[in-house]
């Protein structure tokens, strides 16, 4: 079949859509997968649901969020007057006394928006909750599909703004982690199980934040020339020293005869850092000529 061929005109048979469209091989089943394809979306949906229920309860509880020196990340920074006093902690009464609800609600909108519009979470909940698709090559139950082309899902495109908001929040949580090295009388030099939990938490939060696709785009992958090249032409003031240009993620592969080589995350260092970059690039260019 030559590559110049035009597709056949579509014949629309009412009631037959998707894999049951009139032009396709007549197979009654929605899918023929024999593995446990439902396990991953079911586990994701159950896990996310449990977290949503728990976090909603904790966010509205407005209680039990501070045990010196530890503050729950849900209530940090605490922006209303009704926060419990935390010595040296992130209490900023920006919202004053009129705010009567849980102070967690003021700050949680940012991490919530960040996670809701996150590319990875989108995959998880589109598959797990919306079954669009439930799993690969398993027909989805919806008759119409417009994806992220229309309101409200077109709003997913503002993910980068939530990234901008998430960075200062992560900064404050880092500050909380430092404060966790005090004891309950606020004397420095303490370390308890809570401190370890804080350390693990903040490490994961920064890893999550920096692996954000918007972050990758902003630090240089969004450019059509590598950050170093931009830097050399004098317009790359914001270029970072290293840019995750490509990355590999682990995952089951359906081609069984290949070795699972793709398991390392590759943060590719740009040839040079911003400073001193033009010189080195000039040298390289000379070498290339």
């Amino acid at each position: 079949m030559a590559t110049g061929t035009e597709p056949q005109p579509r014949t629309d048979v009412p009631g037959a859509h998707g894999v049951h469209d009139a032009s396709r091989a007549t197979i009654a089943a929605r899918h023929l997968r024999t593995d446990r394809w439902w396990l991953a979306p079911a586990a994701t949906a159950a896990g996310l649901l449990a977290f949503v229920v728990y976090s909603t309860w904790r966010a509205f509880a407005n209680a039990d969020y501070y045990a010196a020196p530890y503050v729950s990340p849900f209530y940090s920074p605490c922006l209303a007057e009704n926060c419990v006093p935390m010595k040296g902690g992130p209490n900023w009464e920006i919202f004053g006394s009129w705010w009567g609800l849980s102070p967690a609600l003021l700050i949680l909108v940012f991490p919530l928006g960040f996670r809701l519009t996150c590319y990875y979470y989108r995959k998880a909940y589109y598959r797990g909750f919306w079954a669009s698709p439930p799993a690969c090559a398993v027909a989805e139950p919806h008759r119409k599909y417009t994806g992220e082309t229309r309101f409200p899902l077109v709003l997913q495109n503002i993910h980068r703004y939530f990234f901008y908001a998430a960075v200062p929040v992560a900064g404050i949580l880092t500050y909380d982690t430092v404060l966790a090295f005090r004891d309950e009388t606020y004397a420095w030099g303490h370390m308890g199980l809570g401190t370890l939990v804080f350390l693990v938490n903040i490490a994961l939060i920064w890893a999550y934040t920096f692996s954000c696709h918007s972050c990758r785009h902003i630090v240089g992958a969004g450019s059509s020339t590598s950050p170093s090249t931009r830097c050399a032409t004098g317009c790359g003031a914001g270029s970072a020293g290293s840019t995750p240009i490509t990355w590999r993620s682990p995952g089951p592969r359906w081609s069984a005869s290949r070795s699972p080589t793709s398991t390392c995350t590759c943060w590719r260092p740009a040839p040079s850092t911003t400073r001193g970059c033009s010189r080195r690039l000039d040298d390289q260019m000379k070498g290339a000529r």
Partner: protein, 256 residues
């Protein structure tokens, strides 16, 4: 391991209809599904239609669905199935069937033609192109594509919604747009083609909900979603949804 007899179900038919037919067929050590299909052809059903060329996972011809999963028949070893299991082989289920395991993939060729080609930079002779190695490596991953169209077949946007075929280019060709947009020497902008904007407006990038089935089935292990589609979505956001970037472009007089 010695030979054994496996149960196969193979779809046979054409555009007017068809059904799964049962076969018992010999399997030997080291064989792949395509070997078994060839054995069926040689011993039982000489008119069984199947498309293949290289038997090495490089030509992209032998795409089919095996136990409901889109894969290359020549790269699916029989050893991944248990001996008791019935192995079901059907044609790709997103494209019109021609006969037996052969489908009409011309949808993909039409979509390929819709993507404007690389525009050579003005004033640079073909032998004088200079690029940073890092800029060469990034799109190089996408050039591993063997055009098996498994990703196009699995993407639910068109697999489950025939009517979207008109407006959606599919992962393989959105990846092509990403590749060209990442090319530092592509002069499409000068020729009046805004690849980032048209990806969204004309090639249906917004339909993709990044559920990664294209990546999951790609026999070349190309990280289609992470390295092409999501970066392209971010690039389209620059053009269409990010007021700050647009303001910055105005202030610094960068070309929009």
């Amino acid at each position: 391991m010695s030979g054994y007899t496996a149960a196969f179900e193979v779809w046979r038919g054409d555009a007017d209809g068809g059904q799964l037919e049962d076969f018992e067929v010999e399997v030997n050590e080291g064989e792949v599904v395509l070997d078994i299909i060839h054995r069926l052809q040689a011993t039982r059903v000489p008119d069984l239609a199947v498309r293949w060329n290289c038997k090495a996972g490089k030509c992209g011809s032998c795409s089919a669905e095996i136990n409901g999963r889109p894969r290359l028949m020549c790269m699916t070893r029989m050893s991944v199935f248990s001996r008791e299991e019935t192995v079901t082989v059907t044609p790709l289920r997103a494209f019109p069937v021609v006969r037996d395991l052969v489908t009409d993939v011309s949808f993909n060729y039409a979509k390929a033609r819709e993507v404007p080609a690389f525009v050579p930079p003005p004033g640079v002779a073909a032998g004088d192109y200079r690029m940073q190695q890092i800029d060469v490596e990034r799109p190089q991953e996408f050039r591993k594509c063997i055009e098996c169209f498994l990703c196009q077949n699995t993407c639910h946007v068109v697999r489950d919604h025939e009517e979207n075929k008109e407006s959606f280019a599919g992962p393989r060709f959105l990846m092509r747009i990403a590749e060209l947009d990442m090319h530092p020497l592509d002069a499409a902008a000068g020729a009046g083609v805004d690849r980032r904007k048209t990806a969204q407006d004309e090639h249906g990038l917004g339909y993709c909900n990044i559920t990664k089935c294209c990546t999951e089935v790609c026999p070349e292990n190309i990280q289609i979603t992470d390295n092409a589609l999501i970066p392209l979505k971010e690039r389209a956001a620059d053009r269409k949804y990010d007021p700050l970037v647009r303001l910055g472009n105005k202030i610094f007089r960068r070309p929009e």
